[in-house]
């Protein structure tokens, strides 16, 4: 966790993969808005100084009441930067702020996206618990945390690695062993040391563990609304990589009947679902593409079938991107942003 807040290191709005992720998240919410309607909803998040997600929540979903949580030291600057009058900035720690919000506020469904700068820890888990315990039906609960294995794994080179020193073991300490898929559980080698999950697989593991935790938390609490049992339907298991590996995991608190509607909305976005219609791990790690490259690729899209026609057309146009990067672009091109410099 860097001492310098991320908003002082880069402009949130100029990160390609974060931008794509944000659009994917709001795509599903927009689809649900058509069916569910968000006129009663409020928005909760960490608007920071840029309020990227807040702008989308207001513009795309029409949500008028938006609450941004900001550490006291930075709250004044955040208040200055709030984009709409409907945004209020609450100063303090997220757990304390949420605990002190009025019952009337919690009585309304919420779209909550807690986009943390740092890693999963006990405070994040407490925030998740609080949100899931208070969220009304058709509320969305989404979190973003660091997803790099190196962040979680202790830098200890001596003696045998204990289970709780592996990255999976550390996550297990926060979420409980039940949230750890058996295939990822650390196994002991012949010497007795615990073997960690491969680095490349850690973000996918983390999205699954957090989604499982959320699902279980709502099931275990057995909350009911007008006789209907509430459950948690995972919608997002995203991994984006700009300067750091970050994972975004979330879903909705729903009744059985509403779950069907949300599932239909999710299925409209094949990138996000597996063959069974469940939220699927989705890695977003595109390299920056120039405007010229983008125009060249876009002229060939949408195509049908595999990557071959696009690759052939790209090569014919003299494009020198790697095949993998072209394939990734093809997957996300509808959400790929263009950033341009302007003089104000």
């Amino acid at each position: 966790m860097s001492a310098t807040p991320s908003f002082e290191r880069f402009d949130y709005l100029l990160r390609t993969n974060k931008h794509i992720e944000r659009r994917l998240v709001f795509d599903v919410l927009c689809a649900a808005d058509q069916r569910i309607g968000f006129s009663e909803h409020w928005y909760l998040g960490f608007g920071s100084m840029w309020f990227g997600d807040f702008r989308l929540a207001h513009r795309l979903l029409g949500i008028n009441t938006l609450v941004s949580m900001e550490l006291t030291d930075h709250a004044a600057r955040a208040k200055f930067n709030r984009p709409f009058a409907g945004v209020t900035v609450e100063a303090g720690e997220s757990g304390a702020i949420m605990a002190n919000l009025s019952q009337e506020t919690w009585n309304q469904p919420v779209i909550a996206w807690l986009d943390y700068d740092g890693y999963l820890n006990n405070e994040v888990v407490s925030d998740i618990n609080l949100l899931l315990d208070r969220a009304q039906p058709n509320s969305a609960v989404i979190i973003t945390v660091n997803g790099a294995r190196g962040t979680y794994r202790g830098r200890k080179a001596s003696t045998l690695t204990a289970r709780n020193e592996t990255s999976v073991g550390v996550v297990e300490g926060f979420l409980g062993s039940g949230s750890i898929p058996t295939r990822c559980a650390p196994q002991q080698n012949a010497a007795g040391a615990y073997i960690d999950v491969p680095e490349a697989e850690f973000p996918e593991f983390l999205t699954e563990a957090i989604a499982d935790y959320m699902q279980h938390h709502v099931m275990a609490s057995a909350r009911e609304v007008e006789g209907d049992r509430l459950r948690f339907l995972p919608l997002y298991r995203l991994h984006h990589r700009d300067s750091a590996d970050m994972v975004t995991v979330g879903g909705v608190v729903v009744t059985e009947a509403a779950a069907v509607i949300w599932q239909q909305c999710l299925r409209q976005h094949p990138i996000l679902v597996d063959a069974n219609g469940a939220a699927n791990y989705c890695r977003i790690d595109l390299i920056p593409v120039t405007v010229k490259e983008k125009i060249t690729l876009d002229e060939c899209l949408p195509d049908i079938g595999n990557n071959a026609p696009l690759l052939a057309a790209a090569r014919a146009a003299g494009l020198a991107l790697h095949d993998d990067d072209i394939a990734k672009y093809r997957k996300f091109y509808r959400h790929f942003p263009v950033f341009v410099e302007t003089t104000m």
Binding site: G154, G178, T182, H216
Partner: protein, 447 residues
Amino acid sequence: MANNDIDEAGGSSPKRIHADATKDFFVTMITRDISLRDCIFDLLDNAIDGARRKPAAGTAQPLNGYEVRLTFDSNTFRIGDNCGGIRLSDAIDYAFHFGRRPDSPADVKGGIGLYGIGMKRAIFKVGRKCEVTSHADDASFKVLIDVAEWEVKTEWDFEYQDIERAAGLGTTIEISDINDGARELLEDPVFKNELLRDIARDYAFFIHQGLTIRVGDDVVPSYKYQLRQSDQLAPSVEQFDDDGVKVRILAGVVDDLPDDIPDELKPDKVDRYGWFVICNDRVVLAADKGLETIWGVDGFNVWHPQYNGFAGFVFFNAEDQRKLPWTTTKRELDASSPLYRRTIARMKSVTQVFIEYTNRRKQDLPAARAAEMPLVQVEISELQQSQPFKLPVISAMSTRPSMVNISYQRDRREIEEIKSHLGSIAMSAKDVGIKTFEYYREVELGK
């Protein structure tokens, strides 16, 4: 008021009080006494007993080749095996009977099925419709159970149909129309993860014998029960026969012993500590730290985090499983069993040796820690020879350094920052304090 029926002996002629069982009792009442997980384990037990009837000969892995497959979602629960099937003759006369009939044929020796209730109770617990299909060496058949229809009928019998023979022998139980409570669990990914973990732990001794158990696409991993051993550290092994039951008691150290009491302890951190009770290779109690075994019983110490790192194992093995001290759920022990009470006395005795050591080691923690370092981890199945509990000899330090506690508060974010910089976000705040103190001594004092 005079009662003309009373005879000279002070009683009337016998009259009838109704005591018939009701189906509702079996469908909705006894299913409350057992968890969904333990119902599933009852079905696993039946499959394993089937495999034990025809073990592979001449091998250390007599259950090699046998496999049990569990699959489930919110609509269907299915368990299938290749463990020999239910013989038609057994099905007609015994297997579907509620409770074991007195004329039941002798069970598989050393088996784990016992009361004649597990399969029916599991079906009722999980759902309202069921199809049991069996291919055994005498016949192939299926039984269709519609619980709602069966409940309103007067007779208790189920009907079966002959079916085509299949290549392999085995049983499949498929349950649908899942009950609400079970459905929520079956679609909970954490339930599935915990089921896999518990099967690994409680059926470890069968998996070591070659049995394969699958849950969905996952093969249940092999769980290792090991105890530490070194020159100064060795587990105790005690064994005796008691009325046809072989009892083996192991006790030892499974992890680092704590130097002090941690601020908080989550269940995952202590799930290898405590007493384990195993009946005919099936783990009945795991990591018990309460009244089910010795802790807090008749004046014995209650479990304390100071005992973290201790693990004890009691194996009860009997050819006649009715002699084992377990209850119908196979998740509790029968405290009234004289055999169990006699065993508890010995468990207390060996645990007391360890408890006294945890107090003694405080006199010289560095020496204790060094002596406790394991040279090897011993599989408990290899510990077959009786031996006493060997623990390091600790003598009081001649000159104990004068120690003081340091306590102070800092902003949580600053602590997190240091944790991250030290490369261990899971470390405790106390360890952050120790590290930063050591850093000051090293950098500023050169020590």
